[in-house]
């Protein structure tokens, strides 16, 4: 088990290195560099020397030297560098945004499971009935509806009907838990709806499979009620892969939050990424990118390990 974890962690390193190289290069190839943007902004104030600015931001060196310095600082000091825009540490900019994205993701996952499991189970135990068709239509419907559209509707219609608009000012959980949760509820539900589709499909497939197992037949033969058979015998065994697909949604979730955070004005990692990309803040984009990639990789590892924990038949050597 320990060897397995060590091997997996070691395999993460080349992946992460590749991620950083790809992003480091591609962002510098974007048209409209940070220098151009800064020059435009400072145009009214006075002429600045392009060369001097490049030198100041450390952008005048060859790209491999820049990358070497960045990665060297990261490995040796755990330093993600300083933002080209604010001159503050990148880590300092990212840190307050992590809990926002995590909270949104957590609410999304909970809402998603609360919708997906009951509908998926019902759809499976009533296979090929009207209820099943409806359940599957809903599942595929949720995959098909873009989050930015639900988000737009949720912002536009309450504003017209009840003059309600999502709060612009973000309230941290520690400051006012109730207000904070109220703020996250609607974006969380929107995210949950989008996430529930794939999970619902998985729940249905797994239930269908488990319901044909011998032990379920035995349970029926013992004369147990449908409720007991489904809840105690089938659902428990079907849930393991369902929970793990929820984990596979982690990258989708972070991608989805870019849109939802933009619509609901939540200062999470997704929106920060979009802002940094627009401002061509190279170091922030690279830092954020690395943090998100780490989250995804660790989540994937935890999912694989959870298999062994949830299903005692699986062993990693």
């Amino acid at each position: 088990m320990r060897n397995y974890i060590i091997r997996r962690v070691l395999l993460m390193i080349p992946t992460l290195l590749l991620v950083t190289i790809i992003v480091f290069l591609s962002i510098r190839l974007m048209p409209g560099s940070v220098i151009d943007q800064l020059q435009d902004q400072l145009a009214g104030v006075g002429e600045i020397d392009r060369e001097e600015l490049m030198h100041l931001l450390g952008l005048d060196m060859p790209i491999h030297v820049q990358y070497g310095r960045w990665i060297g600082n990261l490995v040796l000091h755990g330093d993600l560098g300083t933002s080209l825009r604010t001159q503050r540490a990148v880590a300092e900019g990212i840190a307050p945004r992590v809990p926002v994205s995590l909270e949104l993701g957590l609410i999304g996952i909970i809402v998603g499971l609360l919708i997906a499991i009951p509908v998926g189970v019902y759809s499976a135990i009533r296979q090929d009935t009207l209820g099943d068709y409806m359940g599957r239509s809903i599942a595929i419907g949720f995959i098909s509806i873009p989050s930015f559209w639900i988000g737009t509707m949720v912002v536009v219609f309450p504003a017209i009907w009840w003059q309600w608009t999502p709060p612009v000012q973000y309230v941290p959980f520690a400051q006012n838990p109730i207000e904070n949760l109220g703020q996250f509820m609607i974006p969380g539900i929107v995210l949950g709806l989008v996430l529930s589709g794939t999970t619902m499909r998985m729940a249905r497939t797994m239930m269908l499979e488990v319901l044909r197992q011998d032990y379920v037949r035995t349970a029926w033969a013992k004369g147990l009620t449908e409720r007991t058979v489904v809840m105690r015998h089938a659902l428990r065994n079907a849930l393991i892969p369902v929970l793990t697909t929820m984990g596979l949604n982690v990258p989708i979730m972070i991608g989805g939050t870019v849109v939802i955070e933009t619509i609901f004005c939540l200062p999470g990692m997704g929106r920060y990424f979009l802002d940094a990309l627009n401002k061509r803040d190279y170091t922030t984009v690279c830092g954020l990118n690395l943090v998100i990639a780490c989250f995804v990789l660790v989540a994937n590892l935890l999912i694989d390990l959870s298999y062994a924990y949830l299903d005692p038949r699986i062993r990693y050597e």
């Binding site: 992946t15 962002i27 873009p146 559209w149 504003a159 044909r212 892969p241 991608g255 870019v258 979009l274």
Partner: protein, 323 residues
């Protein structure tokens, strides 16, 4: 000689059977999969609208009637007009063309990319596989939308750039499914036989592996098409996709139009509704095709003791969901 004749007869029989299946598929779809049929009708409608947009649209693509801005639906403007006085119905019909182009060519590029990467990586294996899979990992461990944003920002907005980027990025993550299909096909005796008679790697790949992983490729492509269309819409929504004034359903929900939605909420409904409907249709059709084409998913009750197949199927469906 006799053997040759027998082979030819068998060959034609097989060909006939394959041909028969192709004709059979729509019939089975209608008979067995009511939801898939609805999906098929929606997809057909998208293609017809996209191809014949010029004949179907009541007005020109960017024809603006300044006097009639933000009109509600009427006999003159079936779905109303937007903030520049352009007919919504016309914009949506031309948006269908954009979505169709992105959907078809994006999933085609996705198909080619994932087949090339997946097939070679699975078949050749070894160090090549290890290196290629690390690159695939690097792409997959990052939210697709963020990669797309970065690359499109680099290439600049435009229909072609967006389609190629989405196709390649989705193709890389989709290659996992093709790779696992190629790995399981590789173990067959006929592949060994092909090698034994001296087939080159290319020939083995094209003549022996490719036809046998075709169902996996078809399934992957149909299930990805909806995602491709949604990705374009999301990019356009964030302002990185198809630049205005070309109509795109995602773009119609973003930008300047957003502030007018409070006075004319229908502006927010139509593009999203049609987009969701189309993606819904594609997903339904894809699901039905998957059920009909995948031999592992055939049959209902009474499959016992097929633990290996079951775990394989589970793995495949998980991978499909993942990407």
């Amino acid at each position: 000689m006799a053997n040759d004749v027998k082979d030819t007869i068998q060959g034609t029989e097989q060909e006939q059977k394959r041909h028969f299946e192709l004709v059979e598929l729509p019939r089975r779809l209608i008979k067995e999969k009511p939801l898939g049929t609805i999906g098929g009708v929606i997809v057909l409608a998208l293609f017809i609208t996209g191809i014949f947009a010029d004949f179907l649209a009541p007005y020109g693509m960017n024809e603006a009637f300044i006097a009639d801005r933000l009109e509600p639906p009427s006999a003159q403007y079936v779905l109303g007009t937007d903030q520049l006085g352009r007919d919504m119905a016309t914009r949506i019909i031309y948006g269908a063309r954009t979505s169709m182009i992105v959907g078809v060519f994006g999933s085609l590029i996705c198909l080619i990319t994932s087949t090339l990467i997946g097939m070679t990586s699975g078949f050749i294996g070894g160090k090549y596989d290890l290196i290629v899979q690390r690159i695939v990992d690097a792409v997959m461990c990052f939210p697709a939308l963020l990669i797309l944003l970065t690359i499109v920002a680099m290439l600049g907005p435009g229909l072609m750039q967006v389609t190629i980027t989405i196709g390649v990025v989705f193709g890389i993550s989709g290659s996992r499914v093709i790779r696992s299909a190629a790995i399981s096909t590789k173990e067959n005796t006929y592949v060994d036989a092909a090698r034994a008679i001296g087939c080159s790697t290319t020939r083995t790949l094209i003549r022996h592996i490719l036809p046998n992983i075709l169902p996996a490729i078809i399934i992957l492509t149909t299930t990805r098409m909806g995602g491709v269309i949604l990705a374009e819409a999301a990019l356009s929504f964030l302002g990185y996709g198809i630049p205005p004034p070309t109509p795109s359903w995602g773009g119609m929900l973003s930008g300047a139009g957003r502030q007018y939605m409070y006075t004319a909420p229908l502006l927010a409904i139509w593009p999203g509704l049609i987009l969701s409907l189309v993606v819904y249709g594609i997903n339904m059709l894809g699901d039905a095709l998957r059920d009909l084409l995948d031999p592992r998913l055939r049959g209902g009750i009474g499959r016992f003791g097929k633990a290996k197949r079951k775990s394989l199927r589970l793995k495949n469906s998980q991978e499909l969901d993942k990407c």
